[in-house]
């Protein structure tokens, strides 16, 4: 069933400030496989390397050692352009800080990944609008991001992560800025995404999230390695 493996990591290590006195290894010798439709949680205290591993798997940074295969293709050595293309076409990201762009409207934020894609304005808008409908943001499309509540901002971030119809969704500490009520809303949304057959990778240390029944696997991280 190898073609069901979307991402495969082999002996991944990441080193920052290599050769300098402040050299650190946030990720050490990690090997794992992510299969289609799986929901995987990377669990661990802060500083355990969850976020770094997530950005390696999400093709946002390159490993110092080891290989990352996306659909069987080693991406670690590919030029920047291909990594960008993978992120644009296959991945969606929900950041801890939401990373929305202030000043432009909610709808423009949701459409953000689609600007460099060769589709029409109309299609772009339709996709954004249907996602915003689904996430209960339809009345907010012309609002500025600053005027939204934390939960709404998160839903905008989720809509943005979904707008390019990604195979894999990466979520970094998605409940960090949410209260219990909003967190369980988020759980509902993630569950729905799983039902659609999307693969989800979550980095969190929030029990409310990793103790949910729809989670397939929990990988515990400490000091950059999976135990």
């Amino acid at each position: 069933m190898t073609n069901d493996t979307i991402i495969r990591a082999e002996n991944l290590s990441l080193c920052i400030n290599r050769g300098r006195p402040n050299e650190v290894w946030p990720v050490r010798d990690v090997s794992l496989q992510i299969k289609r439709g799986e929901v995987v949680v990377l669990k661990g205290p802060s500083g355990s390397g969850k976020t770094s591993l997530l950005s390696l798997l999400g093709c946002m940074s390159r490993p110092t050692e080891g290989r990352i295969l996306v659909h069987g293709r080693d991406v670690a050595k590919l030029p920047e352009r291909f990594l960008t293309e993978i992120r644009r076409k296959r991945f969606g990201f929900i950041f801890q800080q939401f990373n929305l762009i202030p000043g432009i409207s909610v709808r423009e934020n949701v459409m953000l990944p689609l600007y460099p894609v060769d589709i029409s304005f109309r299609e772009m808008r339709e996709r954004a609008d249907s996602l915003m409908d689904r996430l209960g943001l339809s009345g907010r499309s012309h609002f500025r991001v600053k005027g939204l509540s934390g939960g709404e901002q998160q839903r905008v971030a989720i809509a943005r992560a979904l707008v390019n119809d990604p195979e894999v969704i990466f979520a970094d500490e998605p409940t960090a800025h949410l209260d219990t009520k909003l967190s369980s809303d988020l759980v509902g949304i993630l569950e729905g995404l799983k039902k659609e057959g999307r693969t989800i990778l979550i980095a969190t240390h929030d029990p409310l999230l990793y103790e949910q029944g729809f989670i397939d696997r929990v990988l515990e991280m400490r000091d950059g390695s999976i135990r």
Partner: protein, 386 residues
Amino acid sequence: MRKHLKILEYALSSLWRRKFKSLGIIAVFSLIIFTLSSILLLTYAFKREAMEVLRGAPELIVQRISAGRHEMIPSWYGKRIQEIPGVGMVIPRYWGYYYDPSTGGNYTVMAAAGRGDRKLEMLSGKYPPAGGEVVVGKGVAESRFLSEGSRIPIKGSDGQVRNFIVAGIFTDESSLLTNDLIIMSLMDFRDVFKTGNERATDLVVQVFNPDEVENVARKIREIFPDTRPITRKEILRTYDTLFDWRSGMVLTMFGGALLAFIILAWDKAAGLSAEERHEIGILKAIGWETSDIMELRFWEGFVTSSVSFLTGLIGGYLHIFFFGASIFAPALKGWSVIFPSFRLLPYLNPYQVVVLMFLTVIPYMAATIFPSWKAAITDPDVVMRG
């Protein structure tokens, strides 16, 4: 194509969310282009008009120089010059300056030329003036509130005040040439300035063959080493360099405006804030390529500079050719008391417009694109941390 339009769309949204900053930059930028284009259009139109009308200037003028200063020339010089082969008529010119204490203006006083039988253009009234009469330029008439038939007192070098009757006034159309003129008869000129009967201000020398002008000038210098022949070519060259955009005031204003612009561009270049960097990181993380981000910055620079350039240029054109350079006039006027109104013909030098564009639009675009280059090629995972 669609992709480029969409990035343009995003660039516009991006500019619009910082409305005040963007509009402020466009306003300042437009103002700079307005100033620069006004200067360029004004000086070029000036120059072209001077070059056009001064083609009618005498082809050779002979001045006498004494101790390095312009001196009256004795009329026997003319007789000797007339003997040079190829020389036609030698016509003495009589002119000088008159400071009018009551207005503080300097007027140019001329004796009516020998060819007074010709009917004069752009004059209301009669010409040549008879004894006791003068013909004046529009500026003189306005500064002294003169109309045809009024009197104008002129104090001679003997201290006596003579009252002249205004027999004619040059029309406004000719102001650029006649604004400060007072033309009187030769008899009156000699009487007012006590120049004597044997001396003229300078001599106009007619040369039959235009190719011979330089030769004749050289011969005149040989015969009279104390003279300075001035050819029409030299007159035109004077005006060519006078209103050249590299000279004097033009350069000063141009330089000032350009400096202001460089400061603006520099500020823009150095001003890639942490916020902007973070934004570039977000765009990269969600799948924008480095080239897309460069294109975004390109559009931002293009929108700002093209709107500013066109607005400034339109403004400058209207300012110079429809409003008579009204904003510049006080500065241009300098210390002159009488000054002609500008009704310049809209001569335009496409080369200057292109130069202006290259000196402003291109550096601005470069200043917007380059700083984002470094940010755009860094790894996007910075947005994951903090």
